[in-house]
Symmetry: C2
């Protein structure tokens, strides 16, 4: 079992590695200043980097040579960042602030924000395909997994369904489908691509796909719980904003107790899947508890 | 020398092949109806498919097995289509019509248009990376070339510079840089990836890169000439609209005669480059004249 300090060290070390990898590549891009600035602005806005950290943890469960997983982790964070930039646009969620800072289109303008998102999305594939640390077969597999997870069958489908759901009540099954696509697919990419690069077998990756699914739900349920019971200073938004915006949440559909119950149940299922994937002694186990208990 | 009829046949045959390749793959996507509809809507809007046809012609100069080049051609057209969808958005060019039909965000809505563009961009990489007709090395090379041509160093850079140029006068050199990035980079991808898949040598591709550059300029100069001297029924917009919108054009900077002169000069240079690339007997030669003399 990994102790708290070890997990913190793992998270911080990898956060720095990922930050350097992205920063380094974007800084050296010979592109128009305004485009580079707007791409870096959103990358530096300082997310928790949970997705790439999951990727590194999944890789670490099978192989301790972390360098090999860095371009996939950086690409994943670029895709996540692009999706936030486009999500915040006036035509989408119309958000002026993210993590307390002006959103990209507020800091620059809408056209620049659209293009910065397009650029990060496109560059994520360039980054993976140009990584000298990977074989051609690995690059192709990463491009396939990443485009499937983030494209029309994955994240983009989730965003369309999420928009459609805004104007109607959804069932628990529909809510789970939306989250599985919108958030879960990138979680699944994180877990499966990290393990793939680490040499996990096909069977192990099948179990990890299940783990990723459970973890995605745990993440979302905790998000919904924090929205009504969290510390506004920590979660970065007022308590109860989901209810005010009439969002479909697990708490709305199951009640607070029901949501906590569901989370506990999924933590058990997630750990069982890790056990089947022979990755039970890894950081993934600790991260499951961390995701389930996080207060921000 | 290829006669007119042969060229028409080549264009029509390949247009159909490309159409089938894209249509088939998008139709069978298991994604939300609204997303698929909006992606197909813009794909079916019926462009001239010039970029993928160039790719096929470039491939044909070195290899007559056209199947191998189809996924790259389809991906290129998807990227071109995504760029038109995003370009037409209210925050960008704010166009209500394209080729006489409502633009994507007019037919659907802005959010759907943003997501349809994102989806086509992402899916273009999925399509190439999943093509069983290609080796892993070929797939990686295509993903690299395509992401470089369309990303922050390529087309997206051109779009940012084009936006910035709207509010100021530009020099001929600046105008050429904008077009080289915004339009030329996808032309270059078409020519170099087609030749690469056809087995052209590194040296041949270097010459073809020059050819693609000249061809891109020829294309743009002719666009600017048609804007003031074309048939409105054929070009699909009123004559003189560039002048009215105070666009920076070759005609504005060089005068009509100067623009015609420049085009002639570049046709000669383009043909010289083809000669160096040992592709002079190909359809590329005829397409150069076709691009230079087109009336729509």
């Amino acid at each position: 079992m990994i102790v708290q300090q070890e997990l913190s060290d793992f998270i911080n070390t990898n956060k720095n590695l990922i930050q350097q990898e992205i920063q380094h590549r974007l800084q050296q891009l010979d592109v128009p200043e305004r485009l580079k600035d707007s791409m870096l602005y959103s990358i530096q806005a300082g997310g928790k980097r949970m997705r790439p950290i999951l990727l590194m943890a999944s890789h670490h469960a099978y192989d301790h040579d972390m360098e090999k997983a860095l371009s996939a982790a950086a690409a994943l964070e670029m895709i996540h960042t692009y999706s936030l930039i486009h999500d915040d646009l006036p035509a989408m969620d119309d958000d002026d602030l993210r993590r307390g800072q002006p959103t990209n289109h507020k800091r620059y303008d809408e056209a620049t924000a659209i293009l910065a998102g397009d650029a990060l999305l496109t560059f994520s594939f360039e980054h993976v395909a140009g990584d000298p640390r990977l074989t051609d077969t690995q690059k192709v597999q990463l491009v396939r997994l990443l485009s499937e997870a983030s494209g029309p069958k994955g994240m983009v489908a989730g965003q369309i369904l999420d928009m459609e759901a805004e104007t109607k009540a959804v069932t628990l099954a529909e809510l789970e489908t939306i989250h599985t696509l919108k958030t879960g697919e990138l979680f699944r990419f994180a877990i499966s691509s990290g393990a793939y690069l680490g040499g996990a077998t096909h069977e192990q990756i099948t179990h990890l796909d299940k783990f990723a699914h459970y973890l995605g739900v745990i993440f979302q349920v905790q998000d919904d719980i924090l929205d009504i019971s969290g510390d506004p200073g920590k979660i970065g938004k007022p308590v109860g904003s989901d209810e005010e915006n009439e969002k479909n949440t697990y708490v709305k559909l199951l009640g607070l107790d029901g949501a906590i119950e569901k989370k506990k149940e999924y933590v058990i299922k997630a750990k069982e899947a890790l056990h089947e994937a022979k990755a039970e002694t890894s950081y993934l186990m600790s991260l499951t508890d961390y995701f389930s208990n996080r207060d921000y």
